[in-house]
Amino acid sequence: MRVHQFTATLNPRDAVGFHTLEVDAILRELGHDTELFATSIHPELRSRAHQLEDHEQVAPPDVLLYQLSTGSPVAEYLLARSEPLVLNYHNLTPAEFFDPWEPSVGAELHHGLRQVSRLARRATGAIADSAFNGAALVAEGLEDVAVVPVLFAPIASTGGSDEEIESEERDDPLKPLLLFVGRLAPNKCQHDLISTLTVLRRSRPGAELVLVGTASSAQYESALRSLAGAVCPDAVTFAGSVSFEKLAAWYRRADVFVSMSAHEGFGVPLVEAMEAGVPVVARAAGAVPETVGSAGLLLDGDDPVVAAAAISRVLDDETVRNQMIVQGRQRARELSLELSRQAMAEALSNVLERARSAP
């Protein structure tokens, strides 16, 4: 079968980029004749993908496959074509989170969500990262939705060490290191992490928080830095974007991975933390409960006192901590690249076959 895969941007170091390349490889392994198209392609990947505007020059495919993770002109292009369309849906952040901070980003997200609605009505089938993402498509009337975890590179096996990160003295429960990995964005609620850290420091004055990730909103980042400076100066590290080696080092150094994110379509860092043997304390929002399963401590809301109590419990109660580590590693194995690739191959075979035979 001739399958053309589309994505807005193709970058080897972002989650959707890695996933798209894996899907491309799986399609080839399944024997499909496949090509990859994007509006923006990282220089390293120019030999593996074509610009979207070149698509008109190649022979038409049997099925279109769209990696849907943002509002994009790709969606308008695909909506105008007649071939069967299959979506691989990675979720869009609700615009309300960005409206007060970055109105222009909010407007783009509103537009993107309208595209999701139109694409779901046009598509013959879809694969979603999580049941939470799948439900959004079902709500738009798309019935054929399979759930397969996002494909991502294992982080725990990343070798090397980082002396700067790992040299500090450890094993002191009064000086725990809390870690969160994710874009600095209003929906990730890093401000609630700073509130939690501030409450936690009442009983553990040495507690520190490391935020790994680039800013999606400069205004939100600036507000976070101001808040941290006002309520817990020198206790929050804004690590920014880091290499895989440094990221692996932060996971090794962390005592607890804490997420107060109010909206997650899957949550790759949650799995990375579990894989690295770091207990997870997280707000039960979006797809977080299904990603973490019963391996993490899930919190019902954003109460910093409850979150601080949960972190303390994980630090102080060896039984809880050890069992969370064991269960976390087991859960990470269930979501491993190898198993997810198998599930993706099966789901792709089914959804593409149904798409081709759709009237």
Binding site: V199, R202, Q219, S226, L227, S294, V305, V306, D317, V326
Partner: protein
């Protein structure tokens, strides 16, 4: 600490139950910390103020007074352009400022006057809404009022007797889970919802499926048709009749076809003096529940119970 690699075998089959118990204990611990350490509340207020000072309006939650303060703070348009420190840039900016000052000051004055009027209007609106809330008696009595007693074992058994076929049930405001426990033998699945983590802890320790949540919030997100029986108790005694009518309407949509609504409500006449005075106007007698349900399209029956507080349980179905 993350390097520990405990290869002990976790009791996987029980782990979910175990972690649920840990969650309930954490909620109770947090509640206890709040009660024992009043400085926590002050600290939270400091954090909220610090955040409100740097976050844009609309991103700081429903703290009206802070939001209004922030609106006033950013509503003023300052026409004095910062001139910077580098000599060349400073001179250019100074020149631009001199040339444009009169015009921008004229515009800014009008915008500021408008914002000022808007701010004052919002303040007066806020004050009027507050006065209205006080007049309507919706001001919270939290801290002055005791929680409603959990239904006795007799009432819990009477509720369980109303269930004749295995159903999926939820008990709203379940307390320590007495009713959930009674229903366990007759339901295919049953869980309880309780906003007070401290109250449900004993039940969680007994292995019951009890979850911390607000009953109305839980109902709001419940997928219609997934529950066959809903038991109402406790929190309904803090609701006014009009809110109770709205609750019944909501339950009609949430219950599965042929589902049952079971109500264990205290007869207001049976309350003690303090309870009667403070809860005046809140909660309705079982007979009134039956009347309301009938008028809203249901079919309610009263089953008398030998109990000090609750004279009868109400069993209702909607066609």
């Amino acid at each position: 600490m993350a390097e520990q690699s405990p290869e002990v075998s976790a009791p996987a089959e029980h782990f979910e139950l175990y972690i649920r118990k840990v969650r309930a204990e954490i909620e109770a611990e947090a509640k206890l910390r709040r009660m024992q350490d009043p400085e926590i509340e002050q600290q939270e207020a400091v954090i909220d103020r610090a955040w409100a000072a740097v976050a844009p309006p609309g991103a700081t939650g429903p703290v009206e007074s802070m939001l209004l303060g922030r609106v006033e703070q950013i509503a003023m348009v300052d026409v004095m352009v910062p001139v910077g420190h580098r000599p060349g840039v400073r001179e250019v900016k100074r020149l631009i400022r001199k040339i444009s000052y009169w015009y921008f000051a004229y515009i800014a004055s009008q915008v500021n006057t408008f914002h000022n009027a808007l701010g004052r209007y919002l303040r007066s609106l806020h004050a009027r809404v507050e006065a209205l809330e006080v007049a309507a008696g919706t001001a919270s009595l939290d801290g002055l009022i005791d929680a409603v007693d959990e239904p006795s074992e007799t009432v819990a058994a009477a509720l369980a007797n109303c269930v004749t076929t295995p159903v999926r049930a939820v008990v709203l405001s379940c307390g320590s889970g007495r009713t959930v426990e009674a229903l366990q033998n007759v339901c295919s699945s049953v869980y309880g919802i309780e906003p007070d983590a401290g109250r449900l802890l004993p039940g969680v320790s007994r292995g019951l499926d009890l979850r911390v949540d607000d009953p109305l919030t839980h109902l709001d997100v419940l997928v219609p048709g997934t529950i066959d029986a809903v038991v109402l108790q406790g929190f309904i005694e803090d609701m006014k009749p009009d809110a109770i009518a709205r609750l019944v309407e909501m339950l009609k949509e949430r219950l599965a076809i042929g589902g049952a609504l079971l109500v264990a409500a205290c007869d207001p006449d049976r309350r003690d003096v303090v309870d009667r005075d403070i809860r005046l106007g809140y909660g309705i007698a079982p007979q009134t529940w039956a009347h309301l349900i009938d008028r809203l399209g249901g079919n309610a029956t009263l089953l008398p119970v030998d109990d000090e507080r609750i004279s009868a349980v109400v069993v209702a179905r909607f066609s």
